[in-house]
Symmetry: C2
Subunit: 265 residues, 2 copies
Protein backbone atom coordinates (compact mmCIF):
# COMPACT_ATOMS: atom_id res chain seq x y z
CA UNK A 1 0.00 0.00 0.00
CA UNK A 2 1.45 3.34 -1.03
CA UNK A 3 0.59 6.62 0.70
CA UNK A 4 1.23 9.79 -1.23
CA UNK A 5 1.44 13.02 0.72
CA UNK A 6 3.03 15.35 -1.82
CA UNK A 7 0.93 17.21 -4.39
CA UNK A 8 4.00 17.38 -6.61
CA UNK A 9 4.37 13.58 -6.77
CA UNK A 10 4.78 12.59 -10.45
CA UNK A 11 1.73 10.34 -10.55
CA UNK A 12 -0.47 12.95 -8.86
CA UNK A 13 0.76 15.52 -11.37
CA UNK A 14 -0.14 13.15 -14.20
CA UNK A 15 -3.68 12.81 -12.78
CA UNK A 16 -4.20 16.56 -12.69
CA UNK A 17 -3.03 16.73 -16.29
CA UNK A 18 -5.90 14.44 -17.33
CA UNK A 19 -8.16 17.49 -17.23
CA UNK A 20 -6.63 18.40 -20.61
CA UNK A 21 -7.84 16.61 -23.73
CA UNK A 22 -4.34 16.65 -25.18
CA UNK A 23 -3.05 14.69 -22.23
CA UNK A 24 -6.00 12.27 -22.30
CA UNK A 25 -5.40 11.63 -26.01
CA UNK A 26 -1.66 11.19 -25.48
CA UNK A 27 -1.91 8.87 -22.47
CA UNK A 28 -5.11 7.03 -23.35
CA UNK A 29 -6.21 7.49 -19.74
CA UNK A 30 -8.95 9.47 -18.04
CA UNK A 31 -10.07 10.61 -14.62
CA UNK A 32 -13.05 9.13 -12.74
CA UNK A 33 -14.40 10.56 -9.50
CA UNK A 34 -17.04 9.48 -7.03
CA UNK A 35 -18.19 6.28 -5.39
CA UNK A 36 -21.06 5.39 -7.71
CA UNK A 37 -19.06 5.90 -10.89
CA UNK A 38 -16.14 3.84 -9.65
CA UNK A 39 -18.52 1.17 -8.38
CA UNK A 40 -20.07 1.01 -11.83
CA UNK A 41 -16.67 0.84 -13.55
CA UNK A 42 -15.74 -2.12 -11.33
CA UNK A 43 -19.10 -3.83 -11.85
CA UNK A 44 -18.71 -3.67 -15.62
CA UNK A 45 -15.05 -4.78 -15.50
CA UNK A 46 -13.99 -1.57 -17.11
CA UNK A 47 -10.17 -1.26 -17.24
CA UNK A 48 -8.91 0.81 -14.30
CA UNK A 49 -5.25 1.57 -13.72
CA UNK A 50 -5.50 2.83 -10.16
CA UNK A 51 -7.94 3.76 -7.42
CA UNK A 52 -7.02 6.69 -5.20
CA UNK A 53 -8.61 7.26 -1.84
CA UNK A 54 -8.32 9.56 1.12
CA UNK A 55 -9.25 8.04 4.51
CA UNK A 56 -10.19 11.44 5.92
CA UNK A 57 -12.82 11.97 3.22
CA UNK A 58 -14.01 8.44 2.49
CA UNK A 59 -16.66 7.55 5.05
CA UNK A 60 -19.02 5.47 2.91
CA UNK A 61 -18.99 1.71 3.40
CA UNK A 62 -19.86 1.27 -0.27
CA UNK A 63 -16.75 3.29 -1.12
CA UNK A 64 -14.57 1.12 1.09
CA UNK A 65 -16.01 -2.00 -0.53
CA UNK A 66 -15.09 -0.57 -3.91
CA UNK A 67 -11.46 -0.37 -2.81
CA UNK A 68 -11.51 -4.03 -1.70
CA UNK A 69 -13.13 -5.09 -4.93
CA UNK A 70 -10.58 -3.11 -6.92
CA UNK A 71 -7.77 -4.74 -5.01
CA UNK A 72 -9.15 -8.21 -5.82
CA UNK A 73 -9.21 -7.28 -9.48
CA UNK A 74 -5.56 -6.27 -9.33
CA UNK A 75 -6.13 -2.53 -9.57
CA UNK A 76 -3.34 -0.42 -8.04
CA UNK A 77 -4.73 1.04 -4.79
CA UNK A 78 -3.15 4.31 -3.67
CA UNK A 79 -3.85 6.14 -0.44
CA UNK A 80 -3.36 9.90 -0.53
CA UNK A 81 -3.59 12.68 2.02
CA UNK A 82 -6.49 15.13 1.97
CA UNK A 83 -4.33 17.88 0.45
CA UNK A 84 -3.31 15.57 -2.36
CA UNK A 85 -6.88 14.41 -3.00
CA UNK A 86 -8.17 17.98 -3.11
CA UNK A 87 -5.42 18.86 -5.60
CA UNK A 88 -7.12 16.75 -8.29
CA UNK A 89 -10.73 16.44 -7.02
CA UNK A 90 -13.32 18.12 -9.27
CA UNK A 91 -16.44 17.63 -7.18
CA UNK A 92 -17.61 20.03 -4.52
CA UNK A 93 -17.63 18.04 -1.32
CA UNK A 94 -15.43 15.23 -2.69
CA UNK A 95 -16.17 11.73 -1.40
CA UNK A 96 -12.53 10.72 -1.21
CA UNK A 97 -12.61 8.15 -4.01
CA UNK A 98 -11.18 8.62 -7.50
CA UNK A 99 -9.66 6.44 -10.20
CA UNK A 100 -7.61 6.53 -13.36
CA UNK A 101 -9.38 4.65 -16.14
CA UNK A 102 -7.97 3.34 -19.41
CA UNK A 103 -9.85 4.59 -22.46
CA UNK A 104 -11.57 1.80 -24.30
CA UNK A 105 -12.39 2.98 -27.79
CA UNK A 106 -13.60 0.32 -30.20
CA UNK A 107 -11.65 -0.01 -33.44
CA UNK A 108 -13.56 0.57 -36.64
CA UNK A 109 -12.45 -2.90 -37.80
CA UNK A 110 -14.46 -4.47 -35.00
CA UNK A 111 -17.64 -2.73 -36.08
CA UNK A 112 -19.24 -5.26 -38.42
CA UNK A 113 -22.80 -6.50 -38.77
CA UNK A 114 -23.97 -4.17 -36.08
CA UNK A 115 -27.20 -4.96 -34.31
CA UNK A 116 -29.42 -2.81 -32.15
CA UNK A 117 -29.61 0.90 -31.63
CA UNK A 118 -26.58 3.14 -32.18
CA UNK A 119 -26.07 6.88 -32.05
CA UNK A 120 -23.75 8.85 -34.29
CA UNK A 121 -22.92 12.40 -33.18
CA UNK A 122 -21.29 14.96 -35.43
CA UNK A 123 -19.41 17.90 -33.94
CA UNK A 124 -21.30 17.89 -30.66
CA UNK A 125 -19.51 20.46 -28.51
CA UNK A 126 -20.75 20.10 -24.97
CA UNK A 127 -19.33 17.22 -22.89
CA UNK A 128 -22.30 17.45 -20.52
CA UNK A 129 -24.64 16.85 -23.46
CA UNK A 130 -22.50 13.93 -24.63
CA UNK A 131 -22.53 12.26 -21.20
CA UNK A 132 -26.27 12.82 -20.83
CA UNK A 133 -26.86 11.28 -24.27
CA UNK A 134 -24.86 8.19 -23.23
CA UNK A 135 -27.01 7.94 -20.10
CA UNK A 136 -30.24 8.03 -22.11
CA UNK A 137 -28.89 5.65 -24.76
CA UNK A 138 -27.98 3.13 -22.11
CA UNK A 139 -31.42 3.69 -20.57
CA UNK A 140 -33.08 2.33 -23.72
CA UNK A 141 -30.61 -0.55 -24.00
CA UNK A 142 -28.69 1.05 -26.89
CA UNK A 143 -25.41 -0.46 -28.02
CA UNK A 144 -22.98 2.34 -28.66
CA UNK A 145 -21.88 5.68 -30.01
CA UNK A 146 -19.82 6.83 -32.95
CA UNK A 147 -18.26 10.26 -32.42
CA UNK A 148 -17.52 12.07 -35.68
CA UNK A 149 -15.33 15.00 -36.57
CA UNK A 150 -14.58 17.42 -33.79
CA UNK A 151 -17.14 15.95 -31.39
CA UNK A 152 -16.15 16.55 -27.79
CA UNK A 153 -14.27 13.88 -25.86
CA UNK A 154 -16.29 11.06 -24.27
CA UNK A 155 -13.59 10.90 -21.57
CA UNK A 156 -13.88 14.57 -20.60
CA UNK A 157 -14.55 14.65 -16.83
CA UNK A 158 -17.94 16.32 -17.38
CA UNK A 159 -18.94 13.69 -19.93
CA UNK A 160 -17.83 10.87 -17.61
CA UNK A 161 -19.81 12.33 -14.71
CA UNK A 162 -22.95 13.10 -16.75
CA UNK A 163 -22.97 9.59 -18.18
CA UNK A 164 -23.50 8.23 -14.62
CA UNK A 165 -21.59 5.14 -15.73
CA UNK A 166 -23.24 4.53 -19.11
CA UNK A 167 -19.78 5.27 -20.54
CA UNK A 168 -18.59 1.94 -19.07
CA UNK A 169 -21.33 -0.14 -20.71
CA UNK A 170 -21.63 1.36 -24.20
CA UNK A 171 -19.32 0.74 -27.12
CA UNK A 172 -17.68 4.01 -28.13
CA UNK A 173 -15.69 4.80 -31.23
CA UNK A 174 -14.27 7.88 -32.96
CA UNK A 175 -14.11 8.34 -36.74
CA UNK A 176 -13.42 11.00 -39.28
CA UNK A 177 -16.33 11.86 -41.53
CA UNK A 178 -14.47 10.17 -44.39
CA UNK A 179 -13.92 6.91 -42.48
CA UNK A 180 -17.55 6.93 -41.45
CA UNK A 181 -18.65 7.40 -45.04
CA UNK A 182 -16.47 4.47 -46.17
CA UNK A 183 -17.56 2.31 -43.28
CA UNK A 184 -21.27 2.89 -43.75
CA UNK A 185 -21.05 2.17 -47.49
CA UNK A 186 -19.97 -1.38 -46.56
CA UNK A 187 -22.39 -1.89 -43.69
CA UNK A 188 -26.08 -2.46 -44.09
CA UNK A 189 -27.14 -0.18 -41.27
CA UNK A 190 -29.86 2.40 -41.91
CA UNK A 191 -29.16 5.92 -40.67
CA UNK A 192 -32.04 8.07 -39.46
CA UNK A 193 -31.10 11.72 -39.06
CA UNK A 194 -32.78 14.08 -36.62
CA UNK A 195 -33.08 17.64 -37.85
CA UNK A 196 -34.89 20.86 -37.01
CA UNK A 197 -36.23 21.45 -40.53
CA UNK A 198 -38.69 19.67 -42.83
CA UNK A 199 -38.88 15.94 -42.05
CA UNK A 200 -41.21 13.21 -40.80
CA UNK A 201 -42.66 13.67 -37.32
CA UNK A 202 -40.57 11.30 -35.15
CA UNK A 203 -43.81 9.93 -33.68
CA UNK A 204 -44.90 8.67 -37.08
CA UNK A 205 -41.64 7.17 -38.29
CA UNK A 206 -41.37 3.41 -38.56
CA UNK A 207 -37.92 2.97 -37.02
CA UNK A 208 -36.08 -0.23 -38.02
CA UNK A 209 -34.89 -2.69 -35.38
CA UNK A 210 -31.18 -2.17 -36.13
CA UNK A 211 -30.37 1.44 -36.84
CA UNK A 212 -28.19 4.48 -36.32
CA UNK A 213 -29.75 7.65 -34.95
CA UNK A 214 -27.71 10.56 -36.29
CA UNK A 215 -27.56 13.98 -34.63
CA UNK A 216 -25.55 17.08 -35.56
CA UNK A 217 -24.10 19.80 -33.42
CA UNK A 218 -26.04 22.05 -31.05
CA UNK A 219 -25.45 25.05 -33.31
CA UNK A 220 -25.39 23.78 -36.86
CA UNK A 221 -27.31 20.51 -37.06
CA UNK A 222 -26.30 18.09 -39.82
CA UNK A 223 -24.15 18.97 -42.83
CA UNK A 224 -25.09 18.02 -46.40
CA UNK A 225 -22.67 15.10 -46.59
CA UNK A 226 -24.27 13.42 -43.59
CA UNK A 227 -27.82 14.26 -44.64
CA UNK A 228 -27.13 12.44 -47.91
CA UNK A 229 -26.26 9.26 -46.02
CA UNK A 230 -29.62 9.19 -44.22
CA UNK A 231 -32.31 6.72 -45.16
CA UNK A 232 -34.84 8.88 -43.35
CA UNK A 233 -35.10 12.19 -41.54
CA UNK A 234 -37.24 12.92 -38.53
CA UNK A 235 -37.99 16.06 -36.58
CA UNK A 236 -39.70 16.95 -33.30
CA UNK A 237 -42.50 19.41 -34.01
CA UNK A 238 -42.55 22.24 -31.47
CA UNK A 239 -45.10 24.70 -30.19
CA UNK A 240 -44.24 27.78 -28.15
CA UNK A 241 -41.47 30.26 -28.86
CA UNK A 242 -38.32 28.11 -28.74
CA UNK A 243 -37.09 26.84 -32.09
CA UNK A 244 -35.24 23.77 -30.83
CA UNK A 245 -34.69 21.58 -27.79
CA UNK A 246 -31.53 20.98 -25.85
CA UNK A 247 -29.61 18.34 -27.82
CA UNK A 248 -29.61 15.69 -25.09
CA UNK A 249 -33.34 16.23 -24.51
CA UNK A 250 -34.07 15.94 -28.24
CA UNK A 251 -32.06 12.71 -28.43
CA UNK A 252 -33.87 11.35 -25.37
CA UNK A 253 -37.32 12.14 -26.74
CA UNK A 254 -36.55 10.31 -30.00
CA UNK A 255 -34.75 7.41 -28.28
CA UNK A 256 -37.66 6.72 -25.94
CA UNK A 257 -40.09 6.79 -28.83
CA UNK A 258 -37.97 4.22 -30.70
CA UNK A 259 -37.75 2.16 -27.52
CA UNK A 260 -41.51 2.28 -26.87
CA UNK A 261 -42.29 1.20 -30.45
CA UNK A 262 -40.03 -1.82 -29.97
CA UNK A 263 -41.81 -2.84 -26.78
CA UNK A 264 -45.20 -2.87 -28.48
CA UNK A 265 -44.11 -4.80 -31.57
CA UNK B 1 -26.40 58.05 -24.80
CA UNK B 2 -24.07 57.17 -21.94
CA UNK B 3 -20.64 55.60 -22.48
CA UNK B 4 -19.13 53.87 -19.50
CA UNK B 5 -15.39 53.25 -19.54
CA UNK B 6 -14.71 52.41 -15.90
CA UNK B 7 -15.14 48.89 -14.56
CA UNK B 8 -15.69 50.42 -11.11
CA UNK B 9 -18.70 52.44 -12.24
CA UNK B 10 -21.53 51.83 -9.74
CA UNK B 11 -23.98 50.45 -12.30
CA UNK B 12 -21.37 48.10 -13.78
CA UNK B 13 -20.55 46.90 -10.28
CA UNK B 14 -24.24 46.23 -9.67
CA UNK B 15 -24.38 44.14 -12.86
CA UNK B 16 -21.47 41.99 -11.78
CA UNK B 17 -23.20 41.45 -8.45
CA UNK B 18 -26.18 39.88 -10.24
CA UNK B 19 -24.14 36.67 -10.45
CA UNK B 20 -25.08 36.13 -6.79
CA UNK B 21 -28.54 34.86 -5.91
CA UNK B 22 -28.66 37.05 -2.83
CA UNK B 23 -28.24 40.15 -4.96
CA UNK B 24 -30.77 38.94 -7.55
CA UNK B 25 -33.31 38.29 -4.79
CA UNK B 26 -32.63 41.67 -3.18
CA UNK B 27 -32.77 43.74 -6.37
CA UNK B 28 -35.37 41.73 -8.29
CA UNK B 29 -33.12 42.03 -11.35
CA UNK B 30 -31.10 39.55 -13.41
CA UNK B 31 -28.45 39.43 -16.09
CA UNK B 32 -29.12 38.47 -19.72
CA UNK B 33 -26.36 37.97 -22.28
CA UNK B 34 -26.29 37.34 -26.00
CA UNK B 35 -28.09 38.59 -29.07
CA UNK B 36 -30.70 35.84 -29.40
CA UNK B 37 -31.77 35.97 -25.76
CA UNK B 38 -32.10 39.73 -25.76
CA UNK B 39 -33.93 39.63 -29.09
CA UNK B 40 -36.36 37.14 -27.56
CA UNK B 41 -36.83 39.25 -24.42
CA UNK B 42 -37.71 42.26 -26.61
CA UNK B 43 -40.01 40.20 -28.85
CA UNK B 44 -41.99 39.00 -25.85
CA UNK B 45 -42.09 42.47 -24.23
CA UNK B 46 -40.27 41.16 -21.21
CA UNK B 47 -39.36 43.99 -18.80
CA UNK B 48 -35.78 45.12 -19.40
CA UNK B 49 -34.13 47.87 -17.41
CA UNK B 50 -31.11 48.44 -19.63
CA UNK B 51 -29.26 47.11 -22.66
CA UNK B 52 -25.47 47.29 -22.59
CA UNK B 53 -23.39 47.05 -25.70
CA UNK B 54 -19.79 47.31 -26.79
CA UNK B 55 -19.21 48.59 -30.34
CA UNK B 56 -15.88 46.77 -30.61
CA UNK B 57 -17.55 43.41 -29.97
CA UNK B 58 -20.99 43.86 -31.49
CA UNK B 59 -20.74 43.17 -35.21
CA UNK B 60 -24.09 41.47 -35.82
CA UNK B 61 -26.77 43.47 -37.64
CA UNK B 62 -29.40 41.58 -35.66
CA UNK B 63 -27.71 42.76 -32.48
CA UNK B 64 -27.71 46.39 -33.64
CA UNK B 65 -31.40 46.11 -34.50
CA UNK B 66 -32.06 44.85 -30.98
CA UNK B 67 -30.55 48.06 -29.60
CA UNK B 68 -32.79 50.17 -31.83
CA UNK B 69 -35.82 48.17 -30.85
CA UNK B 70 -34.93 48.47 -27.17
CA UNK B 71 -34.56 52.23 -27.56
CA UNK B 72 -38.03 52.47 -29.11
CA UNK B 73 -39.43 50.59 -26.15
CA UNK B 74 -37.84 53.06 -23.76
CA UNK B 75 -35.12 50.72 -22.49
CA UNK B 76 -32.03 52.51 -21.16
CA UNK B 77 -29.25 51.96 -23.74
CA UNK B 78 -25.71 52.07 -22.39
CA UNK B 79 -22.52 51.89 -24.40
CA UNK B 80 -19.53 50.43 -22.60
CA UNK B 81 -15.88 49.92 -23.50
CA UNK B 82 -14.54 46.43 -24.19
CA UNK B 83 -12.83 46.26 -20.79
CA UNK B 84 -16.08 47.09 -19.08
CA UNK B 85 -18.07 44.58 -21.13
CA UNK B 86 -15.57 41.82 -20.42
CA UNK B 87 -15.77 42.63 -16.71
CA UNK B 88 -19.33 41.25 -16.57
CA UNK B 89 -19.56 39.03 -19.68
CA UNK B 90 -20.05 35.32 -18.92
CA UNK B 91 -19.84 33.88 -22.42
CA UNK B 92 -16.61 32.82 -24.07
CA UNK B 93 -16.31 34.99 -27.16
CA UNK B 94 -18.91 37.53 -25.98
CA UNK B 95 -21.08 39.10 -28.67
CA UNK B 96 -21.05 42.55 -27.10
CA UNK B 97 -24.72 42.64 -26.11
CA UNK B 98 -26.11 42.22 -22.60
CA UNK B 99 -29.08 43.42 -20.62
CA UNK B 100 -30.45 43.79 -17.13
CA UNK B 101 -33.91 42.23 -16.87
CA UNK B 102 -36.55 42.73 -14.20
CA UNK B 103 -37.69 39.46 -12.60
CA UNK B 104 -41.32 38.74 -13.35
CA UNK B 105 -42.56 36.19 -10.87
CA UNK B 106 -46.29 35.56 -10.85
CA UNK B 107 -48.06 36.01 -7.50
CA UNK B 108 -49.83 32.99 -6.10
CA UNK B 109 -53.04 35.11 -5.96
CA UNK B 110 -53.05 35.32 -9.74
CA UNK B 111 -52.92 31.58 -10.12
CA UNK B 112 -56.57 30.62 -10.35
CA UNK B 113 -58.47 28.25 -12.61
CA UNK B 114 -55.27 27.24 -14.35
CA UNK B 115 -55.49 25.73 -17.79
CA UNK B 116 -52.99 23.78 -19.82
CA UNK B 117 -49.79 22.06 -18.85
CA UNK B 118 -47.76 23.19 -15.84
CA UNK B 119 -44.63 21.86 -14.21
CA UNK B 120 -43.91 21.91 -10.50
CA UNK B 121 -40.30 21.30 -9.46
CA UNK B 122 -39.27 20.49 -5.92
CA UNK B 123 -35.70 21.15 -4.78
CA UNK B 124 -34.17 20.92 -8.23
CA UNK B 125 -30.55 21.94 -7.76
CA UNK B 126 -29.01 22.49 -11.16
CA UNK B 127 -29.82 25.79 -12.92
CA UNK B 128 -28.84 24.23 -16.27
CA UNK B 129 -31.48 21.54 -15.74
CA UNK B 130 -34.05 24.17 -14.78
CA UNK B 131 -33.39 26.25 -17.90
CA UNK B 132 -33.47 23.17 -20.12
CA UNK B 133 -36.78 22.11 -18.57
CA UNK B 134 -38.23 25.56 -19.34
CA UNK B 135 -37.04 25.18 -22.93
CA UNK B 136 -38.77 21.81 -23.32
CA UNK B 137 -41.93 23.00 -21.56
CA UNK B 138 -42.20 25.95 -23.92
CA UNK B 139 -41.53 23.55 -26.80
CA UNK B 140 -44.76 21.68 -26.01
CA UNK B 141 -46.73 24.89 -25.47
CA UNK B 142 -46.76 24.54 -21.68
CA UNK B 143 -47.95 27.43 -19.53
CA UNK B 144 -45.66 27.75 -16.60
CA UNK B 145 -43.56 26.52 -13.72
CA UNK B 146 -43.95 26.48 -9.97
CA UNK B 147 -40.63 26.29 -8.12
CA UNK B 148 -40.94 24.77 -4.67
CA UNK B 149 -38.73 24.79 -1.61
CA UNK B 150 -35.05 25.28 -2.27
CA UNK B 151 -35.32 24.85 -6.04
CA UNK B 152 -32.55 26.74 -7.82
CA UNK B 153 -33.18 30.25 -9.14
CA UNK B 154 -34.88 30.58 -12.54
CA UNK B 155 -32.93 33.83 -13.00
CA UNK B 156 -29.51 32.23 -12.44
CA UNK B 157 -27.40 33.11 -15.53
CA UNK B 158 -27.07 29.41 -16.45
CA UNK B 159 -30.82 28.90 -16.19
CA UNK B 160 -31.48 32.00 -18.29
CA UNK B 161 -29.02 30.84 -20.96
CA UNK B 162 -30.23 27.22 -21.03
CA UNK B 163 -33.84 28.34 -21.36
CA UNK B 164 -32.96 29.92 -24.74
CA UNK B 165 -35.64 32.49 -24.03
CA UNK B 166 -38.42 30.17 -22.78
CA UNK B 167 -38.00 32.02 -19.48
CA UNK B 168 -39.53 35.09 -21.11
CA UNK B 169 -42.67 33.30 -22.32
CA UNK B 170 -43.55 31.02 -19.41
CA UNK B 171 -45.29 32.02 -16.20
CA UNK B 172 -42.97 31.36 -13.28
CA UNK B 173 -43.74 31.37 -9.61
CA UNK B 174 -42.04 30.38 -6.34
CA UNK B 175 -43.85 28.85 -3.35
CA UNK B 176 -43.07 27.15 -0.10
CA UNK B 177 -44.27 23.58 0.15
CA UNK B 178 -46.90 24.76 2.63
CA UNK B 179 -48.27 27.48 0.33
CA UNK B 180 -48.37 24.99 -2.50
CA UNK B 181 -50.29 22.52 -0.37
CA UNK B 182 -52.84 25.20 0.58
CA UNK B 183 -53.08 26.48 -2.96
CA UNK B 184 -53.61 23.08 -4.53
CA UNK B 185 -56.29 22.17 -1.98
CA UNK B 186 -58.37 25.06 -3.39
CA UNK B 187 -57.58 24.51 -7.07
CA UNK B 188 -58.99 21.70 -9.12
CA UNK B 189 -55.75 20.86 -10.91
CA UNK B 190 -54.62 17.23 -11.03
CA UNK B 191 -50.97 16.57 -10.16
CA UNK B 192 -49.15 13.74 -11.87
CA UNK B 193 -45.84 12.89 -10.22
CA UNK B 194 -42.88 11.37 -12.06
CA UNK B 195 -40.84 8.98 -9.96
CA UNK B 196 -38.17 6.33 -10.38
CA UNK B 197 -39.99 3.62 -8.42
CA UNK B 198 -43.20 1.64 -8.85
CA UNK B 199 -45.75 3.57 -10.96
CA UNK B 200 -47.65 3.51 -14.25
CA UNK B 201 -45.55 3.48 -17.43
CA UNK B 202 -45.75 7.10 -18.68
CA UNK B 203 -46.63 5.75 -22.15
CA UNK B 204 -49.80 4.18 -20.81
CA UNK B 205 -51.05 7.00 -18.63
CA UNK B 206 -54.13 8.92 -19.71
CA UNK B 207 -52.94 12.46 -18.99
CA UNK B 208 -55.66 15.06 -18.45
CA UNK B 209 -55.84 18.19 -20.59
CA UNK B 210 -55.13 20.56 -17.72
CA UNK B 211 -52.54 19.23 -15.32
CA UNK B 212 -49.41 19.69 -13.30
CA UNK B 213 -46.42 17.47 -13.95
CA UNK B 214 -44.48 17.19 -10.70
CA UNK B 215 -40.79 16.31 -10.48
CA UNK B 216 -38.50 16.06 -7.48
CA UNK B 217 -34.81 16.76 -7.12
CA UNK B 218 -32.04 15.06 -9.10
CA UNK B 219 -30.86 13.22 -6.00
CA UNK B 220 -33.91 12.50 -3.89
CA UNK B 221 -36.99 12.49 -6.10
CA UNK B 222 -40.30 13.36 -4.44
CA UNK B 223 -40.93 13.50 -0.71
CA UNK B 224 -43.95 11.83 0.95
CA UNK B 225 -45.89 15.08 1.38
CA UNK B 226 -45.81 15.76 -2.35
CA UNK B 227 -46.43 12.13 -3.31
CA UNK B 228 -49.63 12.28 -1.27
CA UNK B 229 -50.87 15.22 -3.36
CA UNK B 230 -50.54 13.28 -6.62
CA UNK B 231 -53.57 11.98 -8.45
CA UNK B 232 -51.31 9.63 -10.40
CA UNK B 233 -47.68 8.53 -10.57
CA UNK B 234 -45.79 7.66 -13.70
CA UNK B 235 -42.30 6.30 -14.33
CA UNK B 236 -40.05 5.81 -17.33
CA UNK B 237 -39.06 2.13 -17.50
CA UNK B 238 -35.36 1.73 -18.28
CA UNK B 239 -33.18 -0.95 -19.74
CA UNK B 240 -29.39 -0.96 -19.54
CA UNK B 241 -27.28 -0.24 -16.48
CA UNK B 242 -28.31 3.30 -15.56
CA UNK B 243 -31.01 3.62 -12.92
CA UNK B 244 -32.34 7.03 -13.92
CA UNK B 245 -32.22 9.67 -16.63
CA UNK B 246 -30.94 13.20 -16.42
CA UNK B 247 -33.80 15.21 -14.90
CA UNK B 248 -34.31 17.52 -17.89
CA UNK B 249 -34.28 14.53 -20.25
CA UNK B 250 -36.82 12.67 -18.11
CA UNK B 251 -39.09 15.73 -18.04
CA UNK B 252 -38.74 16.11 -21.81
CA UNK B 253 -39.59 12.47 -22.51
CA UNK B 254 -42.78 12.71 -20.44
CA UNK B 255 -43.72 16.18 -21.75
CA UNK B 256 -43.47 15.11 -25.37
CA UNK B 257 -45.58 12.04 -24.68
CA UNK B 258 -48.27 14.22 -23.09
CA UNK B 259 -48.01 16.61 -26.04
CA UNK B 260 -48.28 13.83 -28.63
CA UNK B 261 -51.35 12.35 -26.93
CA UNK B 262 -53.05 15.76 -27.13
CA UNK B 263 -52.33 16.05 -30.84
CA UNK B 264 -53.98 12.72 -31.60
CA UNK B 265 -57.11 13.38 -29.50
Amino acid sequence: MKIISSTSNQYIKSIRKLSSRKERDRSGKFYIEGIRLIGEALRTDFPIESILYCSDLLTSGFGKNAIEEGEKKGVDIIEVTKDVFLSFALKDGPQGLAAVGIQKLVNIEELHNLKGLWIVLDNVQDPGNLGTIMRSLDGVGGKGLVLLGTTTDAYHPTSVRSSTGALFSLKITKMSLMSFSEWISKENMPIIGTICGEAVNYKKYDFPQDMILLMGSEQKGLGKELLDMCEGLVNIPLKGSVDSLNLACAVSVVLFEIYAKRQTR
